[in-house]
Symmetry: C2
Subunit: 252 residues, 2 copies
Amino acid sequence: MNMNYKLTLQYDGTDFHGWQMQDGRRTVQGELARVLSLLDGRKVSVHGSGRTDAGVHAEAQVASAQLEREFEPEKLCAAINGNLERDVRVIRAEIAPEDFHARYSARGKTYLYRIINARVVSPFWIRYAHNEARELELERMREAACVFLGEHDWTAFSAAQTDTQTRVRCVTELEIDAVWDERGQGKLFELKISANGFLRYMVRSIAGALLAVGRGELDGEMISHALETGERSKLIVTAPACGLTLLRVPYD
Amino acid sequence: MNMNYKLTLQYDGTDFHGWQMQDGRRTVQGELARVLSLLDGRKVSVHGSGRTDAGVHAEAQVASAQLEREFEPEKLCAAINGNLERDVRVIRAEIAPEDFHARYSARGKTYLYRIINARVVSPFWIRYAHNEARELELERMREAACVFLGEHDWTAFSAAQTDTQTRVRCVTELEIDAVWDERGQGKLFELKISANGFLRYMVRSIAGALLAVGRGELDGEMISHALETGERSKLIVTAPACGLTLLRVPYD
């Protein structure tokens, strides 16, 4: 009988074409499937909690896979990592219940969007944060952020194309913090956002809208209007992938 | 009359062949000289506070250069950065006294050496820290670190080849801290070391020795012996460049 494994992964998304397997391109799912197939001696399917786009990072992405061979979790972890490049790591392997599925069992997700608000950006941030040179007003952004909370149809804040049946999702947390970046170049803004699920480009569209709010170009009312009508304003730009990190995926 | 400028630089050393200009290779000094020559319309010489090896980073390297044209410091900063790739940034430009020289005016230097002490290393650390998988004993390292303090001849802890007249330097600070890395993979050790000057490979040799101490292979007495005799033990290995960051260069 197959064993079901839950794998928790970290990756620096800079040099990946995203999560989802694609022919001839280096993807996280592709790398993981290659290594698990090698270890299990047959073609292994890997399920992720969700796709991350090219350039998006993960502190704790979750994947599940059924293996024919039985592995002691810690040894599985070491065996996988020994066959991966260092920009992706399995940080934990666990034996999971038979019906555990990284995507369908997930109760939601938490993402972090990082912005360096400065004219000069530290070289140590360029892979992990988006740069905004114009000054951002934190209080304006915090007020507008409230509008996103709760259940909405996210048509105006997601990719035009979708394979999901409904665009209704519930945002349960949206916190914005700004701290002086110790590298001394300006402020680091961190947008933490949790929902029961996300559509493609949803976090980056919310981040893009909040950037426009912070610059004084957009306000909460305009965001409400976009949410209600499903019409995307030209002021809502999908923020760059490099600023985005999948922080955690909660399960029961 | 020429104007003398003091430039403070940050760089991610991963994709540089170090500080010092070399034909056909991308170096920090080379990049900076190229851009300053472009802006000043003539060949400009750039002096650094010291060389950093390939792969070594800087939070605040200092350079000086004489320019024929007069630039408002903030505009000079923007003009230089506009012509550099994003892994190196001038974070401050200042008009300096005529006799200011980044190397000869420096009162010393402070370096940081980062070690991730864990079996699995977060992909977010691989560019900026050395990995040690065997457990390091902090207290042993702290005790042995005291031996390095003060004035010594560093022959056993530097490159065999040197162009300096004396190998005597005074280490004024050597602090070791270990914190649980928030990415949850293990401990982050930080070795902070200040001296009135450093020889080539000196910090990395000290870090290599302290790693051996932390693993229980070397002790303070063996370090004392190496310092006194100038004979390098085989247990003292030059620690990898990626863990090293030039933190600051103090001037009067």
